[in-house]
Symmetry: C2
Subunit: 232 residues, 2 copies
DNA sequence: GTCTATATAGCGATAGAC
DNA sequence: GTCTATCGCTATATAGAC
């Protein structure tokens, strides 16, 4: 019994290592760019061993998504324990998702992949966790609307989807790549643009005051300061 | 000379048809999901003929992106001719990109694909058009900030990237798939969430007043109205 | 100049050696 | 129980028939 339990433990530990690698590789290269060989190499095991744990590439992605949702659940639990308004909690959640993104720990799935989506929709573990997370966020959203902190004219599900979308917002990666901003500054900027549109009023009050370089520019001379491009 | 010109014209017409198909297929299945065979079948020509016009899949995608930028340029020109504030023009641009998305005409590229990105960054036509569009949008952005309509604390490039990101916002597709909203309603909702975060004040004034079903709900009973889920 | 048939390669998945 | 070598499939790209 003890030996079986020990073996179980070893297997679980390795599964954790696998899922962790998948998480990182998904974040770096995306689902299509991630190869099974790369996963095996990253974990340091043979590909055949990988298939002893997960039957397909899709199940690997599903496991990674479940792990992300579990981490999100843990974060939600922490936030629920702290005294804060619903809006503050929602902001903290989005901040966390952005930190995960910057840390390269937020897996990126294709917006619409038929086989992958089918696999995810068939995965009860994934669906269950997703619904639990969505329910808790939904409670905070409606609460924040009742508090007058979020625009009550927006259907809660629109707010929910928007929060999910910000967890994989490409703007963050572009700003990071541009190199002109610190991680914390990027998060503050995106929090400002995100919740400025979600809260009912006083949009930018949440963002710290920002000192512009040089004297205040005359409104008459815009002079194209945005030639960056950097192609989507 | 006339015959050559005629042949030229035929070739150009077919290239337009090809690019049009690529646009649609990119919007439907994404870059990785789009196969060359599907493009040839959609256009109604043989695959070999396709390669007479475009040397690779990447050049197909680049051509599609250039076409989108050209359409955007045309739209920007129309808007520039009309009397309106910079903010109104920016809103009109975003509205247009969302209409394109809903019409299935907005090609979707992977967020980070090494070979594709390299090909795009090497495409002078693409880069030139992108910079032209970005310059014009940048002018409107700084103007809107000078007008006090956009948050002046946001770097213009952050606003620019955010506008680009909304042109392929997955939230739109999710709301469309949910079936609960008309196309126009979806656009109004996303315009509200987008510019609420970008304009300095009076966030939701742009969105039309929305009549909620039933009597005003008591703030004390949130009762999870968001169990939708719909996976990422 | 257009299509059929094929070359080539990369990747997911598996069988067999040790 | 772990790894090497390979299968089979799909998709990009091309050569040759008509």
């Amino acid at each position: 019994m003890a030996r079986v339990s020990f073996r179980e433990q070893v297997l679980r530990a390795r599964e954790d290592a696998i899922v962790s690698s998948v998480n990182r590789l998904l974040a770096q290269r995306g689902y299509d760019g991630m190869t099974i060989d790369a996963v095996a190499a990253d974990v340091g095991i043979a590909k055949a061993v990988l298939y002893k744990h997960f039957s397909s590439k899709e199940s690997l992605a599903a496991a990674a998504m479940v792990k992300v949702l579990e981490r999100a659940q843990a974060r939600l639990g922490e936030l629920a324990a702290q005294p804060a308004s619903a809006l503050e909690r929602l902001k903290a959640v989005v901040r966390w998702t952005m930190q995960e993104q910057l840390a390269g720990e937020m897996p990126a799935l294709p917006a619409q992949n038929s086989t992958l989506r089918s696999a995810l929709m068939a995965d009860q573990g994934y669906l269950g966790k997703l619904m639990e997370v969505s329910d808790r966020l939904g409670e905070w959203i409606t609460q924040a609307q009742a508090d007058g902190d979020l625009d009550a004219a927006l259907p809660p599900e629109v707010v929910l989807y928007t929060l999910y979308a910000r967890a994989c917002d490409p703007v963050l990666a572009v700003l990071k790549a541009s190199g002109g901003y610190s991680d914390e500054r990027i998060i503050e900027l995106l929090l400002a643009t995100t919740f400025g549109g979600l809260q009912a009023r006083a949009a930018v009050a949440a963002a710290p005051a920002i000192s512009r370089k040089g004297p205040t520019r005359s409104p008459g001379s815009p002079a194209r300061s945005t030639k960056a491009g950097s192609g989507r």
